[in-house]
Structures are given as C-alpha cells and as structure tokens.
C-alpha cells in the first residue's frame, strides 16, 4: 500500500501550501452561509409558540455547541495521531484546536445562559447538560494551560494529548446528559434517527447555521494552524523566503 500521502500530510509546508488555496473558498462559504442563516433566523423564521422570540438564540447556540463537541474530537484525534506517529503537524492542529474550541464552548454557555433567563427564569442552573459543558470548557482551558506549562515543546504536546484523550470520557456524557438526567435542559431538537421535534421553517435556517459554523471552524483551524506553522518553522528557508519575498500577499486570505 502506498503511504506516501500519509507522510506528506505530516509536512507543515505541504499543509501550508494546500491550505493557501483552500482557505479562501472555505472562508467565503462560511461567511455566506452564516449571513444567510442569521438573517433567516432573526427575521424570517416564525416566532415560537411557547418561547416567543427568545428561541432565536438557538441559531447560534446549537451550532456553537455542535462545534464545541466536534472540535474536541478534532483535538483529541490530532493528539492521538501525534502521539502514535510523532507527527509534528498533528500536534500543531491539536494546539490550535484548543483555543478555538474553548471560545465555541464559551459561546454556547453564554448564549445558553442568556436564553435561559427569559425561558427558565434563571441565568444558570447546575443541570447535567450545562455542567458537563462547563467541564468541557475546563478541559479546553487545561490543554491551553499545559501548552504553556513546560519549557520543552515535546513534553507539553504529549501531556496535552493525554489530557485531551482522557477528557474524551466527557463527550458521551454530554450527548446523553439530556436523556440520563431529565433536568432542565430540553432534549435534542435535531435527531439523526427518527423525526426531529422542530418545524422545517425553523430547521432550515438552523441546518444552514450548523453548516456555516462547520465551515467557519474549518477556516479558523486552518488559519490558526498556518500561523502556528510560521511560528514554529520561522528558522526554515521556505518560511523565510515566503515572508521576505511578498508571500504575505498570497496568504492574506
């Protein structure tokens, strides 16, 4: 079997050059879908019969929470690949996934709190879903902290990877929390199996927003990883050449 593609995948330079071409497309797609989704969700989706207009927060709350979880997979898998195959690029991806995931988790917690006030009458409860999301936030912060905790990059990469793998145990708890403990948080609105409990007029903008957030996440992760590559490889000739001979223009997008 030809494993060349796999080894090429581990080359920061190859990644940098490829993503120069991809990232403008992904970024444009993200911007377009999110703008459409926000206008649709805020202005055109019908009012909810029970929650009134406050439910319009769903169009950012759910996509942010989706990506907070998906981003954790990305971080843990990148960490595992880095540990197993000692792939430098993989550790870079892991490192960059942490702050992006932390901000997305923060967004889902804050928008959830703001949504909770008019709907449940409180900003915060120690509900199972909310608490496990807060733990997810701390796991992300833990990885960020470990990245800065050691002098040796190798040591901080390995310990961050192990923390993110151990933290994977939290992921099924988050998914199942609304079913296992029937507390305050409403159960899933969109289901992959069986009919969703949401009207199509609200589901379409929500799906558009989820797709837009996936694109935004991919774009942000590329952008952050590219910068991490420049930072770590700034002593190499290709980076010097790129930065000193107007390569800045092409990588602006």
């Amino acid at each position: 079997m030809n494993w060349q593609w796999f080894h090429r995948l581990g080359s920061p330079r190859w990644f940098y050059e490829k993503t120069s071409r991809w990232s403008p497309w992904v970024g444009t797609l993200a911007l377009m879908t999110i703008v459409i989704g926000v206008i649709w969700g805020l202005g055109f989706a019908p009012e909810d019969s029970k929650q009134g207009n406050s439910y319009r927060i769903i169009f950012i709350h759910v996509p942010a929470a989706f990506l907070a979880l998906a981003g954790y997979y990305v971080m843990a898998i990148a960490g595992a690949v880095g540990l197993i195959w000692r792939m430098k690029l993989s550790f870079m991806v892991m490192k960059c996934a942490a702050p992006i995931g932390a901000v997305l988790t923060f967004i889902s917690l804050v928008t959830g709190a703001v949504w909770g006030k008019p709907t449940w009458g409180t900003w915060w409860v120690w509900d199972a879903r909310i608490t496990s999301m807060l733990i997810l936030f701390f796991l992300y912060l833990g990885v960020i902290a470990l990245q800065g905790a050691y002098q040796s990059r190798d040591l901080s990469n390995k310990s961050s990877a192990i923390l993110s793998l151990v933290g994977m145990i939290n992921i099924p708890i988050i998914y199942k929390s609304v079913d296992w403990w029937f507390t305050l948080h409403q159960p899933a609105t969109l289901k992959f199996t069986g009919p969703s409990s949401i009207d199509p007029s609200m589901a379409y903008p929500l799906l558009i927003m989820i797709f837009g957030f996936y694109c935004l996440y991919a774009w942000l992760l590329m952008k952050w990883t590219r910068l991490e590559i420049l930072e770590q490889e700034q002593k190499t000739n290709w980076v010097k050449e790129l930065l000193l001979t107007g390569g800045i223009k092409s990588s602006k997008s």
């Binding site: 009134g52 992006i100 930065l243």
Partner: protein, 61 residues
Amino acid sequence: MKFQFESIADLLSMSGHGPYVWGAYFVTFVAIATLIYIPYKLKRQIVAQVKRQQKIEKPAH
C-alpha cells in the same frame, strides 16, 4: 416566507426578548471576531521578527 416584524423598532425589541437575543448575537460576534483577529496580529509579529533576524544575519551595505 415573510418578514416577521412590522418595523425596525419591532425587530429590535422582539416583543421584549430583544436585549437577550441581540445580546447573545453580539457576544458571539465579538468572540468570533477575536478568533479571527489573533492570527492576523500574530502574523504581523512573525513577519517583523523574521525581518529583524534577516537584518542581523545579512546587514545592509
């Protein structure tokens, strides 16, 4: 599909839920804008650093 609000004021107030909805969208916007801004700032720093390094290695005549 029709626009759900009578006027701009109506859209902003969202029958009382406006501050919550717009507040949530605003926080999200600021948070994501920060995520976009950081790599730009970092890039400027790295370029400056590499240029400085280059000057030390190859001083201009």
